[in-house]
């Protein structure tokens, strides 16, 4: 009897594991198919197409590095679009993160009605796209928009915003601040996870508000800062809808975001090869930036349980 069971066990187990493996691959198949057909396959194809001239109606033609040569040496607009995108990213990520953090600090106070306020700050970040872009076009209207009207209260003659090459990117940054609610909620969750006794200990040491902020709060939530930073950079580098709807890249290409220019090339002029080369260049830039940020993180990110002098 005993002998039989010892023989029977592994067999049942094997069959069970086998069934589990099959179940995994069946249930995960939608994503697996999607990953192969809509991500990995297209990524490799896009890399291949980037070495070709391909305008859809004519068959693709291998042209080596020509697309990349054009991109790096003969296309002024690429660099213009990179400048625009970089300026916007730096502005919106930095101002946005600081604002989101400060708002989260305020939201962490025990104040009556705080839930209503949290909703008010979070709400705009949950709506996006064309209606929001149209709304901000109208807010930025130099004559009749609400922004310049309010600036006039303080005796300031507001700029032309979307019509002024120098102010169009700041305008997009201001608009992005309306959507900081998502980042704020994440910061808030992190703030609420900081154990109260750390603050009590700091207070006993005579720490003031600022000292507590820089020595307790910021180190404790630095992993979340890192996460928000990487995701914000990646997101802001891919700005498209606002620019397409509000300015079409104008005035004088001052808001020609990289993805907008890529769209114009790939879908507008059917330059599939050139568009793919641009896409791969963006991927490399994003990977490099994320890598740089992650590499720098040991210098400023504090993980609990880690010894620090």
């Amino acid at each position: 009897m005993a002998r039989e069971t010892t023989f029977a066990w592994p067999q049942i187990k094997l069959r069970f594991r086998h069934r589990e493996t099959i179940a995994f691959y069946v249930l995960a198949s939608p994503w697996l198919i999607g990953f192969l057909a809509l991500t990995l396959g297209p990524m490799l194809t896009s890399f291949a197409i980037s070495f070709m001239r391909y305008e859809v109606i004519t068959p693709p033609e291998f042209i080596g590095l020509a697309n990349y040569r054009t991109m790096f040496f003969h296309d002024e607009l690429i660099w213009q679009s990179l400048r625009v995108t970089a300026t916007y990213s730096v502005g919106s990520v930095m101002v946005g993160m600081v604002t989101a953090f400060l708002v989260a600090l305020l939201m962490n106070q025990k104040i009556p009605g705080i839930h209503v306020f949290r909703t008010i700050y979070y709400l705009p970040s949950s709506i996006s796209g064309v209606p929001v872009a149209l709304l901000w076009m109208w807010i930025f209207n130099p004559e009749f928009g609400v922004l310049n009207t309010m600036l006039r209260w303080f005796g300031i003659q507001g700029p032309q915003w979307l019509f002024d090459p120098h102010w169009v990117i700041p305008a997009f940054v201001i608009m992005s601040l309306w959507g900081i609610g998502g980042g704020m909620v994440i910061f808030l969750a992190a703030l609420q996870g900081i154990p109260q006794h750390l603050y009590e200990a700091a207070e006993l040491d005579g720490a003031g508000v600022l000292s507590k902020l820089f020595n307790v709060t910021i180190p404790m939530i630095s992993p979340v800062i890192l996460f928000n930073l990487v995701m914000s950079i990646i997101g802001s580098m891919q700005t498209f809808t606002q620019a397409f709807v509000m300015t079409k890249g104008g005035p004088a290409n001052a808001s020609l975001f990289y993805v907008l220019y890529l769209y114009q090339n790939a879908i507008g002029y059917f330059k599939m090869g050139y568009g793919s080369a641009m896409a791969w260049f963006l991927l490399v830039i994003i990977l490099a930036l994320s890598g740089l940020v992650l590499r720098s993180s040991p210098l400023w990110v504090y993980y609990e349980g880690e010894m620090r002098g």
Binding site: R17, E20, L38, M107, T241
Partner: protein, 297 residues
């Protein structure tokens, strides 16, 4: 930290507690004022949108600015609906969104269950791949995916917008649900197994019913994504009859060389209303959902 605590024995300055209490009060007062001021700033765009949507066209272009309409024109909403074929675009948007949300909730939960519960060779690798696709810029696949759908003769149909939603619906949703499923005790699975449930039975009869808040969160995020999507319809839809609301709305900016801001704002309000309703209906779910994963949508 324990080293610092030894300083506890030192005598404190007099009125230490009183000082701290006034400081707390002051801090709270300042915070309240700042929060109130910020809330007003955050609400101004909404008020501006609604205010404009209820005004006569002539009243919008008056200086100094009129803050409130002299006469509330609800009629603008009717005009806006008629001016942009709103009914048609609305039906199209509802169609795309309904099938998109259904697909992403169903398939992302299936995949998430597989990643949360089932053991299989290769799973670890696939999970890392899944996470890294969240960082991938969508433009890298834009051109080949366009060419793929083109060769399938899917241009100007809703398939390019809906089918990807049925293929996992996005790494973010899978990750979020997987995190949620991990919090459901494994013992429940064991009980279900003893009761004769297979893997699919556990997913369908145990995990899904226990995960309604997380599924609602994914459903809401997916609704926002599908309802507001602009680039997808812009690339794949050509004929006006197939346009979704965001696409139709974007073509409404210029009518005969003029921008009817009051109608445009009225239409924008109408497009946003479903999102706002859903926001208030589901906010308790998704704030929970976001904090669970520490990721925004």
């Amino acid at each position: 930290m324990s080293a610092k605590l030894t300083r506890y024995s030192k005598p404190h300055r007099t009125l230490f507690w009183a000082n701290r209490r006034t400081a707390r009060l002051l801090q709270r007062a300042i915070a309240t004022v700042l929060i109130l001021a910020g809330a007003v700033v955050f609400l101004i765009p909404f008020m501006w949108m609604v205010r404009t949507s209820l005004m006569h066209m002539g009243e919008i272009f008056l200086l100094p600015i009129r803050w409130l309409p002299a006469q509330i024109r609800w009629h603008n909403y009717l005009e806006a609906v008629q001016a942009i074929d709103f009914g048609l675009y609305f039906r199209n948007s509802v169609f795309v969104t309904a099938f998109g949300v259904a697909g992403s909730v169903l398939t992302s939960s299936m995949v998430a269950y597989a990643f949360a519960r089932l053991r299989a060779p290769g799973k670890g690798l696939f999970f890392v791949v899944l996470l890294s696709t969240m960082m991938l810029p969508y433009v890298v696949t834009l051109v080949p995916v366009y060419l793929l759908f083109r060769s399938l003769h899917w241009l100007d149909t809703y398939a390019p917008l809906i089918v990807p939603q049925w293929l996992g619906g996005g790494a973010f949703y899978v990750f979020m649900l997987r995190q949620f499923f991990m919090t459901i005790p494994m013992e429940l699975d064991d009980v279900a197994k003893i009761d004769g449930c297979g893997f699919f039975g556990i997913y369908w009869r145990l995990i899904l019913p226990l995960s309604k808040p997380a599924l609602a969160t994914v459903g809401i995020f997916s609704f926002y994504g599908n309802w507001n999507d602009f680039l997808g319809p812009l690339i794949y839809l050509n004929s006006m009859d197939n346009f979704t609301l965001p696409l139709g709305l974007s073509f409404f900016v210029n009518i005969r060389g003029m921008t009817y801001w009051n109608l445009l704002m009225a239409a924008s309000v109408l497009v946003l209303i479903p999102c706002l309703v859903l926001f208030f209906a589901g906010q308790r779910f998704f704030v929970q959902g976001i904090t669970l994963t520490g990721i925004k949508g």
